[in-house]
């Protein structure tokens, strides 16, 4: 289905299958149509429509000044976006791949994240940094990193990760509307995932920072986000035959972190496993496990476990399936949640 056809269908109000990439593109288009200060810039985002085609059609509809192919330099792109935001624009930057965002790290950490604070609120920077991230698409080296731990460790940034088509639209709109810088992590392997969705009647979106229970359950809580959500949903289905009724919480953002939703779930179930693709050591799972333990210690029947990528550089594509947390690894962790006491 071409974007044009999808757009026509959506205009007719039809609820039809849309991919996450299309929903993201539609979010950008709607944001740009609504607010003339929204500017998209990055590598290949103009004529080509981005290497994942998320920005397809934007340059044509809004012109090169609103959707700009920049020189190939990530620090320059984000640095320029900082200046544009200083002047009152609302830039949406695309970093072509997760590992190619690292040159922009100083601009992100030393400037984008700190400008509101260092100017005591006088100069907030409403910048959205879209990063196609994570593995599972057979990408060669430097195309599959999960870099969320770096970003979540930087005060001043929001870190948002959609896992569904509907959230891709809603969370991106919210991120662009935010007056704070947002690192928006788009799970590459979910770009082509489909769901029945209509841009004309998108579900109401809660503000950034609200986790959601994707599957209610009583036995244990799987805490996850982004590319690992489908894995956890599948694991929860498979667990039924083992006698476990798993609850799945989709964090949707690491910053802000929704302690309430997560703790309420774990207090109900008494057990928790954190699942993510990012390496385990120093990864988000450690922070999440600590927060859960601090808040739910007396409700816990077992230590909070983590299922994460190994502590290795991202492997070559022919080996990546061994690295990525899959259904079996999730179920193995669930099995280790000290069920002996129950029997």
């Amino acid at each position: 289905m071409t974007t044009a056809a999808a757009t026509a269908g959506e205009r007719a109000g039809a609820v039809r299958p849309a991919t996450m990439a299309q929903a993201l593109g539609r979010a950008l288009r709607d944001a740009m149509a609504e607010d003339p200060t929204v500017h998209v810039l990055g590598e290949d985002v103009g004529t080509l429509g981005g290497v994942f085609r998320v920005t397809d059609g934007l340059a044509k509809e809004f012109g090169d000044d609103r959707c700009t192919d920049t020189p190939l330099a990530e620090a320059g792109i984000l640095g320029a976006a900082v200046g544009m935001a200083m002047y009152g624009l609302r830039p949406v930057v695309e970093m072509q791949f997760d590992a190619f965002a690292y040159p922009a790290f100083e601009q992100l950490v030393s400037h984008a994240a700190k400008m509101r604070n260092r100017t005591r609120g006088a100069m907030p920077l409403p910048i959205t940094v879209r990063v196609p991230y994570g593995g599972g698409i057979g990408g060669v080296e430097h195309h599959s990193d999960s870099s969320e731990a770096y970003y979540m460790a930087t005060p001043g940034l929001h870190v948002v990760m959609p896992a569904t088509v509907e959230d891709a639209y809603g969370l991106l709109r919210q991120s662009i509307a935010s007056d704070d810088p947002v690192v928006f992590l788009e799970p590459k392997r979910l770009y082509w995932s489909k769901a029945a969705w209509s841009a004309e009647a998108p579900a109401p979106v809660e503000p950034i920072g609200r986790a959601v229970v994707r599957r209610p359950g009583r036995s244990a809580t799987l805490i996850t986000y982004g590319p690992s959500l489908p894995v956890c949903m599948e694991a929860a289905e498979a667990a039924i035959s083992e006698g476990w009724d798993l609850e799945v919480v989709d964090l949707r953002s690491l910053v802000p972190f929704d302690d309430e939703t997560v703790a309420a779930s774990v207090r109900r179930t008494g057990r928790a496993v954190v699942v993510h693709e990012s390496s385990g050591f120093g990864g988000p799972g450690g922070e999440i496990a600590a927060r859960v333990t601090e808040r739910c210690f007396h409700h816990l029947e077992a230590p909070v476990l983590r299922v994460a990528g190994f502590d290795i550089p991202y492997p070559p594509p022919m080996q990546e399936r061994h690295h990525l947390p899959g259904v079996d690894r999730v179920l193995d962790a669930v099995a280790r949640l000290q069920w002996e006491a129950e029997s």
Binding site: G79, V82, G83, K114, R120, A122, D180
Partner: protein, 384 residues
């Protein structure tokens, strides 16, 4: 089988490659071989006396500001001060060539440029006093926060100027960086973006000879820093950074060029850092007195004073008036800096995000409890 043996080889004609030509003619972009000078040349006679006297007043005031700020570090009133003593011509000219609607992007050594632009000296110094990262509203003064990481403010200047141009506003950004900063990737990326976007930006490199202790020869193999402009497709200008009139003229031309849509310019001002990197540095470890002494003879105030007195525009009385004004500024600064800044620790949590996150609310509450306990304890001690 050789080419000749191929069937139809006799008719074979290699296709000529598409014609190549340079994107830009490099000749007009090249800087002059010598730094441009006005003072001490015939051109000085044509300079506007009013401008010369204004520059002189600002230089004297700027020098006094520098010496006063350095003195404040010794009194413990400033945490650190990177002095621009010897570089006042660049600092002052950068401020004076801009219109009120234009933007200045200073580095940490450029508090003087911000002050010369009209910023309150105390507000300019909060970063270095250590009470506030930025002591002013950048949008109110159109002065970006003083930038400590090297050259990272340059892409901001480009983005801001680009945004202004997109909005149809007549705004020029002037960004300041040192010789060491030209080695940073952000310098390269900013100049490249500016040239590609034809952004109304002027880059002022103050080549003061040293990046802390490292001399220019270890920083670059380029003929001059101004030559770097050519590689980006923008003009490079080389100017004597201690000749306030020349710097003012070259920067003024670059600003005018940017304003009329001509795109960015790279200006290298050759100057010298008369003081150590900061008060915490010891310059005797890496340079000799004779070098410093030679530059002392080429002091920006001396050069201008000599010219002005030679032409009868300045006399002892007038010099005295200018110096008195500078002393009053220094006394005011001293007095204001002697007062301890009033700080609210709860401010630490106020401006991290537009809306405080749950964890920041928790942490703010914890700090508030600690402060109250501290207050109660000191109150109890006083009662004893």
């Amino acid at each position: 089988m050789t080419v000749q043996e191929l069937p139809g080889a006799a008719a074979y004609r290699p296709t000529p490659p598409p014609a190549w030509k340079p994107l830009t003619d490099p000749a007009p972009l090249l800087p002059d071989p010598e730094p441009y000078r006005v003072l001490g040349t015939d051109a000085a006679a044509h300079a506007d006396p009013e401008l010369l006297l204004r520059l002189y007043g600002e230089l004297v005031r700027g020098r006094r500001y520098n010496t006063q700020a350095t003195a404040l570090t010794r009194q413990g009133r400033l945490a650190v001060y990177p002095s621009s003593t010897g570089q006042e011509a660049c600092e002052v000219a950068a401020a004076l060539v801009l219109e009120e609607r234009d933007w200045l992007f200073p580095s940490y050594r450029d508090t003087l440029a911000a002050v010369a632009r009209g910023l309150d000296p105390v507000d300019a110094l909060t970063l270095l006093r250590g009470d506030r990262h930025t002591g002013y509203d950048p949008r109110e003064h159109r002065i970006a926060p003083l930038c400590t990481p090297l050259a990272t403010q340059l892409p901001h200047a480009v983005g801001l100027a680009h945004a202004a141009r997109l909005k149809g506003d007549d705004v020029v950004a002037l960004a300041m960086v040192g010789d060491g900063g030209t080695s940073e990737g952000d310098f390269h990326e900013a100049l490249n973006f500016a040239a590609v976007w034809r952004a109304p930006v002027v880059f002022l490199v103050q080549n003061n000879g040293f990046a802390i202790s490292v001399p220019l020869a270890k920083q670059t193999a380029a003929p001059s820093l101004a030559h770097k402009a050519v590689g980006y497709g923008m003009p490079g200008r080389l100017v004597d950074g201690n000749d306030a009139v020349a710097v003012h003229q070259v920067l003024g031309e670059a600003v005018a060029r940017a304003r009329r849509g001509g795109g960015p310019t790279l200006v290298e001002a050759v100057t010298y850092r008369m003081e150590a990197h900061t008060n915490a540095d010891d310059a005797t470890r890496y340079r000799g007195d004779s070098e410093v002494e030679a530059w002392r003879q080429h002091d920006p105030i001396l050069l201008l004073e000599r010219d002005l007195t030679g032409r009868g525009l300045l006399d002892e009385e007038r010099i005295g008036t200018v110096r008195e004004a500078a002393e009053r500024m220094a006394a005011g600064l001293r007095e204001q800096m002697n007062a301890d800044p009033v700080l609210d620790p709860m401010d630490l949590f106020t401006h991290v995000y537009e809306q405080q996150t749950g964890q920041l609310r928790e942490q703010a509450a914890r700090l508030r409890d600690e402060l109250e306990a501290e207050h109660d304890e000191s109150g109890a001690e006083e009662r004893r």
